[in-house]
């Protein structure tokens, strides 16, 4: 197997920083185990079946550094977007007012947002029943997963108490600003939705356009019995940064999970979603939108694991590629042997705007139970010519007609209930479309 040069690089970084990292966030054997797994797997290379598309061109030309553990930015700014909490540079938690905190309580204490080190120090038992439970299951799969556990020192703890229903959606902004070029930024967010709780989160991920980072974010999302969680993310990374984002979710009986991410461009971004439907009666709804132009590359890898009977999953992904952009979707539904009465649907629809753009879609079904209803549909194409003509014959010029149809095509996936937030997402989509259509 071909050795990726980042493998030895990260192992060297480990030699240099392991002790400091452990002092920041003591993880005991987890960290050491992860390193050994990373050593075995190595940094993912192109020859791996599920990494063929993700040739993050140029990622190995950088000596990614941790540069001490702090990003060295004391002069961060509170981002303009109003939020309930901000997480800056993967290290500093701010409350809605912009005050630096170790813990923020919202909704009368029903929601606690804390730094990981705070959670580790104050609720060690709960911390260790959740932390790396899901990521650990993936660590032997690809080296990218243990890489996070090896180096993570900071992150967020987001916990919703049992049997509470939040009165409004909560907003968290993840911002990367003024971090020196070349930084490797591993972070972890741990989401815990208590039994019977109901919560909605709006997430904004962004960075400073001129900078050049390797952002590696793993979300572990745990939903207890009857919990209902909605997460909608506007993912907008600019500049030359490399982004790896994993959302690993596990759902207990009768819980419901609705997730949407709109990915607006990115030089090189890979979203990896692994949904484990762990107990019967679970409902999972995953949607995503990706818009790529110029030389951008965005990939969504979605794995839905129907481990038990009587669960439902829906996937709806839409991609639009212009310029020499590349967009990819790999959806993999696994229905295990006894997962009878499974219903699983997957849809991947894409539009290619230019002859140098490229869309790849791999909608996989792997099914070992017979009493199931599974289907998928995938299309790659262009805008409907008859509709284009209809609009033009009503006086709408070509470019505007395209924008109108593409907006409608994209907006259909945006699973956000609050009208003004939905409009905010759509406005970002339209800004990107303006760029793609010029």
């Amino acid at each position: 197997m071909k050795e990726h040069k980042l493998t030895s690089h990260f192992l060297q970084l480990w030699e240099q920083y392991a002790q400091q990292l452990e002092e920041q966030l003591p993880l005991g054997t987890l960290r050491q185990t992860a390193m050994e797994r990373f050593r075995q797997q190595g940094f993912p290379h192109k020859k791996l079946e599920k990494w063929r598309f993700s040739n993050w061109m140029g990622i190995d030309n950088h000596e990614w550094t941790l540069n001490g553990l702090d990003t060295g930015t004391s002069t961060y700014q509170k981002p303009g977007h109003p939020a309930d909490a901000y997480f800056i540079n993967g290290e500093i938690l701010l409350d809605g007012e912009g005050q630096s905190r170790e813990m923020v309580q919202l909704e009368g204490g029903a929601v606690r947002i804390a730094t990981l080190s705070y959670a580790r120090a104050h609720w060690p038992e709960k911390f260790f029943t959740h932390f790396n439970h899901l990521n650990g299951q993936k660590e032997s799969l690809y080296g990218i997963f243990p890489l996070n556990t090896m180096f993570v020192a900071r992150g967020l703890w987001i916990e919703v108490a049992e049997e509470v229903e939040l009165s409004r959606p909560l907003t968290i902004v993840y911002d990367v600003q003024a971090v020196p070029d070349g930084r490797f930024l591993p972070m972890r967010s741990l989401w815990i939705a208590g039994r019977g709780s109901k919560a909605e989160f709006l997430l904004y991920e962004r960075n400073e356009p001129t900078k050049h980072h390797f952002i590696h974010h793993v979300h572990e999302i745990y939903m207890a019995e009857n919990a209902e969680v909605q997460r909608a993310t506007l993912q907008k990374y600019s500049g030359k940064s490399f982004i790896f984002s994993a959302e690993l979710s596990a759902q207990l009986a009768e819980s419901q999970y609705r997730r949407h991410t709109s990915t607006i461009g990115s030089a090189a971004l890979r979203n990896e979603l692994h949904a484990l439907l762990q107990e019967p009666g679970v409902h999972t709804n995953l949607s995503g939108l990706y818009l790529v132009g110029s030389t951008e590359k965005v990939e969504n890898q979605v794995f839905v694991d129907h481990a038990v009977p009587d669960c439902e999953s829906f996937e709806n992904f839409v991609g639009i590629a212009g310029g020499t952009g590349r967009g990819a979707f790999t959806g993999h539904i696994l229905v295990r042997k006894d997962a009878q009465k499974t219903q699983a649907y997957q849809s991947s629809r894409n539009v290619v705007l230019d002859d140098s753009a490229w869309i790849r879609t791999l909608p996989f079904l792997e099914i070992y139970a017979d009493d199931v209803k599974c289907s998928h549909g995938a299309t790659v194409g262009k805008l409907d010519e008859d509709i284009m003509f209809y609009l033009r014959s009503r006086g709408v010029p070509d470019r505007e007609a395209r924008k109108m149809l593409l907006t409608a095509f994209a907006a259909e996936t945006v699973e956000v209930d609050a009208e003004e937030v939905r409009n905010e997402f759509i406005a970002e989509i339209q800004r990107k479309l303006d760029e793609l259509l010029c």
Binding site: N350, V352, S356, I367, C374, S375, G377, A378, K382
Partner: protein, 481 residues
């Protein structure tokens, strides 16, 4: 015991219909493979130097390669040195007339429903019968010759039409294409050769019948079909093998070249011995089939009915090079007991305004694993191209698996690719409805499966559609769970 259990039991005791062994004296080359064996095969067949070089180059390439492991298949380790790579009937391998043919061979093909005698010949079908490594007999040869059509064994074509063979052999499936293709290129024994001259519409079905008989023999046939400008041919192959406890190896290569305005229909009814209900024995079927629509407006249509083999690894593919060229792939793959199939197609669109259609129907029963694997690739210059794929899977028991792995790549803005897939079982209400109308459960399943496969079966030449339907029903009998 429930009805369905009874039916299952009844089926599992059913024997593979074509499982008899022909007791005929064969010259078998000792097992194992090295350059000397390849020289021996080549010498035995009196081949020109270029072909020996082709074989040796393939052998050297193969030695550098590893057996692929990406398919959704559990392939037991194969000792390629344990197989024998050549066998021929002791008596004269090639016959001028039927009188010279060993009566046991004639009887074998009669039993298989492929009569070689003049008076019993299938009307409208010319047959090339391949027994183990050697082509035994080609019928209707003279009739075809009058039209300039060449239909003979590839060994004969090497002697009689060396220029054509040299020009096209390895042009669609190069020797380094994959592990099994390289092996085939090194050791291929016989197979069919078809050449249709410009503007000629072949008036009858051309058919090759493959039979593996000898124990421990690998069969490596090679088929080469060339449809010159504006010509048409429909070609069909069928395969069977005796029941044997050990696995037998079959690694064929088929190359099809379709010139401008020509059309080729290629149909397969694959019924190699699938092994017993515990998965013992059966054929390992590792096949590389590929055609190229070389000229503008050329057309290639694949139809396959796959019911046999312990393991199937097969992806009949088309390279759509000519502008406005078209390709179709119709497939029914039925797996039962411990069978494993990983099969599908690749449609590589290179020319402008090219079109392809994929209809795949998988049926899984017993403890089998059935995978559709397909690729549709639209190149940057293949503007205004289209593909539609429909891949359905039907699960008949809760112990089998049905998998769909499509790969779709689109590199331009004027093409449209659509892929749809569903996985389901037969609805209880459908069975009940038919039972209420007087069918038993098994008849109901047969009817429903036949309806399910209909779109594919009706693509087969008429003479074979009924045969395929029967085969499907036999393979299906008692598999209801």
């Amino acid at each position: 015991m429930s009805d369905s259990d009874k039916i299952i039991q009844e089926y599992t005791t059913r024997e593979y219909e074509h499982g008899f062994v022909t007791d005929i004296e064969m010259d078998v080359v000792p097992p194992g493979l090295d350059e000397e064996k390849i020289r021996f095969i080549s010498r035995k067949k009196n081949e020109p130097d270029w072909l020996l070089e082709f074989r040796l180059k393939a052998y050297r390439t193969w030695k550098q390669m590893e057996q692929p492991n990406w398919a959704h298949l559990d392939i037991p380790p194969i000792d390629f040195q344990s197989y024998s790579y050549y066998a021929e009937p002791k008596k004269k391998p090639r016959y001028k007339s039927l009188d010279e043919v060993d009566p046991k061979l004639i009887e074998t093909f009669n039993k298989l429903g492929i009569p070689l005698e003049e008076q019993k010949r299938l009307a409208g079908v010319a047959v090339d019968a391949v027994f183990d490594s050697v082509s035994v007999m080609t019928t209707y040869k003279e009739t075809l010759q009058e039209l300039g059509i060449i239909f003979c064994s590839i060994s004969e074509a090497v002697q009689e039409h060396p220029d054509l063979v040299k020009k096209y052999l390895g042009s669609v499936v190069p020797i380094h294409d994959n592990f099994y293709a390289a092996l085939n290129s090194a050791v291929f024994s016989d197979g069919s050769f078809v050449y249709i001259p410009p503007g000629v519409r072949c008036p009858m079905e051309l058919s090759t019948y493959f039979r593996i008989n000898t124990k421990g023999l690998g069969q490596f046939e090679r088929t080469l079909i060339i449809a010159d400008e504006g010509s048409y041919v429909s070609y069909l192959e069928g395969c069977t093998a005796p029941m044997r406890d050990e696995n037998q190896l079959h690694a064929a290569v088929v190359e099809i070249i379709v010139h401008k305005d020509a059309e080729v229909k290629y149909s397969t009814v694959q019924n190699w011995y699938p092994g017993d209900e515990e998965g013992k024995g059966g054929i390992f079927n590792f096949v590389t089939k590929r055609g190229i629509c070389l000229g503008d407006r050329s057309k290639l249509s694949w139809t396959q009915v796959e019911t046999g083999s312990a393991i199937t690894w097969k992806y009949p593919s088309t390279i759509l090079k000519g502008d406005y060229s078209q390709a179709e792939f119709y497939s029914v793959a039925l797996t039962n007991n411990r069978q494993q199939a990983d099969t599908g197609t690749k449609m590589i669109h290179l020319g402008k305004h090219t079109k392809s259609l994929v209809i795949s129907k998988g049926i899984s029963a017993g403890r089998s694993q059935n995978t559709y694997r397909g690729m549709v690739s639209i190149a940057k210059n293949a503007v205004h191209s289209r593909n539609f794929s429909q891949c359905d899977s039907l699960l008949l028991t809760d112990k089998c698996g049905a998998h769909t792995f499509p790969y779709i790549d689109v590199h331009n803005s004027s093409s449209v690719v659509e892929h749809e897939a569903t996985t389901s079982k037969i609805a209880d209400e459908q069975i009940f409805y038919l039972q209420q109308r007087g069918l038993d459960e098994e008849e109901a399943v047969r009817l429903i499966v036949n309806g399910y496969a209909r779109e594919v079966l009706q693509q087969l030449p008429m003479e074979f559609a009924a045969e395929a339907r029967k085969l499907l029903e036999i393979s299906l009998e008692g598999s209801v769970g």
